[in-house]
Subunit: 580 residues, 2 copies
């Protein structure tokens, strides 16, 4: 007797699971329900549709060979029934039925199942503030909301916009608005940096500075407390949570905008599962085992509505990512067909394009590692991502988070103008991160090398080496922010700053900061130790950190202990916008 | 008592080991000997100097911060003595001395050591044929030979060139000559494909076709039997080893060229070690243990002069790669300083830029796997390496080699116009390949995803999935070459070709090959099974292989068994130059 499988939810996971099942078990009867009119679209493409890079919304719903993934497509090419505009109202697990309503007509009926897949996804959160539902306030939820946003843009109704939330979607939307439509865009973020949960503060500052240079304004440490409608304009009341800085006036301000995009994360759609008595976590994710079965073994779930387990902390993790939903969709299909596949813990790998800048990462940030209870350190490397003699090249910044003691790698993040080259490094780390590699694994990675692609010692090899040296106490570095703090107090004369570059580079700074900025080229340091005080904290800086590390080693041999070098050197200071 | 370390060889490995040692053990006395005048240069950059992309040879010898790595640099910044133009004549292991000769003066002396590093590298092979030493015949051995080649080019003396050997350096040199200097360049290769030891035949054909479109001529299956000097011109006698084809006239031909570059591999410089009684393998590599010690524990060796162990086969492997020499140099430095570091087996990861095309890989090819005794299969995937709706994208071809039974991944290679994106995929595989991963590891890799970078199911996930299906018998594919063979015999009517695309794409082929090329769009196949014969071998083709796999599944359900789909579809056929 062929099995009867019902799939609730028609985006990413649901269709993937259904199609895989049908390929493995062609006799199965498979039905996909979806509340919406359009199904099986690439939600991650919405910012690129809003920007205009993707010209038509239907492209997001098409296959790579330009066939629209609609009901007819699923029926004719996959032998799968699709019922769109159909909401699942409740699940009767004992009877193995789902009560559904056809939204346009209101007609209800009861559908039986042998196996059920809950692929209900997530819903963008809305802040619980006055005005959150005003007409100019949009969340990026589905193709329809994307079409609505873009209609407003093409109609020329939007001169300025406020994006609430500096996560992936918020930043991608800010890029879409500012880059393609020339809209004056302000991003308001509650945390003190952009991409707060996935990127370290130095890298975040580098990416933010690039976006500012492209015309996007930021309010960090800032909370939107209300949105007030005034005709076609919304007035966004922003309350700063931090002392006044150049970027952030203290107190309260009001930003006028014709468009407000609220992009403050998503919440799993788990009400249906909860009402059916399935186990749902405190944070709202449906709980699944490593076969992606819910607490009812006949009901599978995956994608944005479930909670997973972090491969790094072993703790529950919510990871609403389209790529993961696709991979897990295949595993659900496998298991529905009896193949007995298990999932692994998840890492949280990601990448994002921010104008010409790119950021990417996998695993934990330093803050995240500390929150998870790790005794963690971060090391940073700044290096050209081509052989230094190769003409077409640019810098890449990487940060590695490692656990002291075990030397275990907990995460790597980075920024670079060379996007694919950056992702190339994160790919290598993501491939091994689940196995709790030591930093030596990075030192010894055998990655492809040729001068047009990378350096003979790949930046990941270097990152492992630097971590090895730092963990062994052979190197100690400070971030651009830590440098900025020390340099702001330079007149206290407690810190002695040594520029290890040649005079041609260092001279202008010596002249700008007389008595505070000292130049001893690294090649001369051995003979000029008498110029280096023994009673002050030493800060060593060069162009990217290579010579200052050499200087650090030399001074350590000479008995100096109270010192640090600036990770990424002047290149990092400049990229992070340190005023020097 | 500080240790006295002597390093024989001043390129890549030697300086790296010396510098690392000095940072860890500043008291050590370290001396580097080198036969040549210039040391510590980036040999991998030579083709880019010959092309002119790197304008001055000194850039290859400089640090990333533009300091020349000469004797003064090593003395002043590293506290390391360098003796260039100094040849090591013999090692007296009992006395722990090395007899050396200063080449310009002929003066000899004996230097003592506590620990010795043999970093003598490799020498380009010359074919044992008449004329191999003629003045117009160059090998790419060191900076001096590079300067000689480029001088000839800048003097306008070279109108045509023959490159013997289609390995990395041969092809890079062919690109340099043809691209930047407009020189009529012919590459002669003994094997039946370019990059024969590292790339599969389909990928090699794709890369070769691109190079041909850029103006490079190839002679495959062809052996150079003699070079005859005629004044400024060398006459290269090429004997074809294969039946005549469009590309390769049968029999013997003579190619005239002002420049002949012989690039037929390198041989380890192990004579010194052998004469000192150290263990040297049959193939000539110095034998080292996993601490990089030779058979004399006081003598370390690494780099191009040693033999290593393959992480995949466990067998000896010769891998003369600059990047590896750098990583192993650090390990030698560590062990000299007493840190007790071990090396892992090696994979053979590589990448090469060939005009706008790029090729990269890691691990074994199908031929290599079979030679090593594996019961191996190859699967190929062709996919756009961006979300299909993202405007700026291109195809990537990947091939995976896996062992039947164990499902173990043995290697992955690929070609793509998107070089960094290709290396990104090889990086991920290289990071895990040493651990004998199953194809499921690739299916489940959690790589960063965003539409400007990749597809929701990364091509590596797809590659794992396709391998999974093929190993389970759920899919069976043929290469473009296998297709071409079958299609050439189409009038035998033993094979039935079905184009699974829509009429708009398939129609022209149906009209061109009446009665031989059949069109059943995949969406209509279920209703048109009566048109599919049950007594013929079926070949299914679509654009990239997705729809033909769907068709394969559908036909399998309907009881068809004698069939295959074309891996990479029409895109692969076109890229590989199949005439259709």
């Amino acid at each position: 007797m062929p099995q009867n499988v019902l799939v609730i939810g028609g985006v990413a996971l649901g269709p993937k699971a259904a199609c895989r099942l049908k390929r493995l078990d062609p006799e199965a009867t498979v039905t996909i329900l979806d509340r919406g009119e359009k199904i099986s679209y690439g939600g991650c493409g919405i910012p690129f549709f809003v920007s205009g890079e993707v010209s038509d919304a239907s492209e997001l719903q098409s296959t790579s060979f330009h066939m629209l993934r609609d009901e007819a497509f699923f029926r004719d090419t996959k032998d799968i029934s699709v019922r769109n505009c159909t909401e699942a109202l409740s699940i009767d697990r004992a009877a193995k039925t789902v009560r559904v309503r056809h939204l346009p007509t209101g007609a209800e009926e009861t559908l039986g199942y042998d196996k059920l897949v809950i692929a209900t996804g997530s819903t963008p959160r809305r802040l619980p503030i006055p005005g959150a539902l005003l007409p100019g306030v949009q969340v990026v939820s589905d193709l329809d909301s994307a079409v609505a946003i873009r209609s407003g843009l093409t109609a020329g109704k939007v001169g300025s916009a406020v994006v609430i939330g500096a996560g992936f979607i918020g930043l991608e939307m800010a890029v879409a608005l500012a880059d393609m439509w020339g809209i004056e865009t302000t991003v308001v973020e509650y945390a003190d940096q952009i991409l707060p949960t996935v990127l370290g503060p130095t890298m975040a500052r580098i990416a933010q500075k690039h976006m500012e240079e492209k015309g996007v304004t930021f309010r960090l440490n800032a909370q939107v407390t209300a949105i007030q409608g005034e005709g076609a304009t919304e007035r966004v009341v922003v309350k700063s949570a931090a002392p006044s800085t150049d970027n952030n006036p203290a107190g309260e301000e009001t930003l006028d905008a014709e468009l407000v995009i609220m992009s403050v994360g998503v919440a799993p759609n788990s009400e249906l599962a909860k009402a059916a008595g399935l186990t749902v976590s405190e944070r709202g994710g449906i709980v699944v085992n490593d076969h992606l079965q819910t607490s009812d073994p006949d009901i599978y779930s995956a994608g944005d509505c479930v909670e997973l387990t972090s491969a790094i902390t072993g703790q529950p993790m919510y990871l609403p990512m389209g790529s993961l939903a696709n991979r897990h969709g295949r595993i659900v299909g496998d298991n529905l067909a009896g193949l007995n596949r298990k999932i692994e813990g998840v890492l949280g790998s990601w990448c994002v394009k921010l104008f010409d800048q790119n950021a990417a990462g996998t695993g934990l940030t330093l803050a995240g590692a500390k929150r998870a209870g790790f005794d963690a350190i971060a090391v940073q490397v700044c290096q050209q991502d081509r052989a230094h003699f190769y003409p077409d090249k640019d810098f890449m910044f990487l940060e590695l988070i490692a656990e002291r003691g075990t030397r275990r790698v907990l995460g790597v993040q980075g920024v670079s103008l060379m996007g694919d080259a950056l992702v190339a490094r994160i790919n290598a780390v993501a491939a091994v991160l689940g196995q709790a590699p030591s930093v030596d694994v990075l030192s010894n990675l055998e990655l492809p090398y040729s001068p047009p692609f990378t350096t003979a010692m790949d930046i990941l090899n270097m990152l492992g080496n630097v971590a090895d040296n730092v963990l062994a106490g052979r190197n100690r570095s400070i971030t651009p922010e830590q440098f900025a703090e020390l340099f702001a107090k330079r007149d206290d004369d407690a810190t002695f700053f040594i520029d290890c570059r040649e005079w041609g580079n260092a001279g202008p700074f010596v002249e700008k900061y007389p008595g505070r900025w000292h130049n001893i080229p690294q090649g001369q340091l051995a003979h000029r130790l008498s110029e280096v005080p023994r009673d002050k904290h030493l800060v060593l800086v060069c162009n990217t950190g290579t010579r200052s590390y050499e200087a650090f080693s030399l001074l350590a041999r000479a008995g100096y202990t109270d010192m640090a070098n600036v990770a990424g050197g002047m290149v990092a200071l400049h990229a992070a916008g340190v005023d020097i």
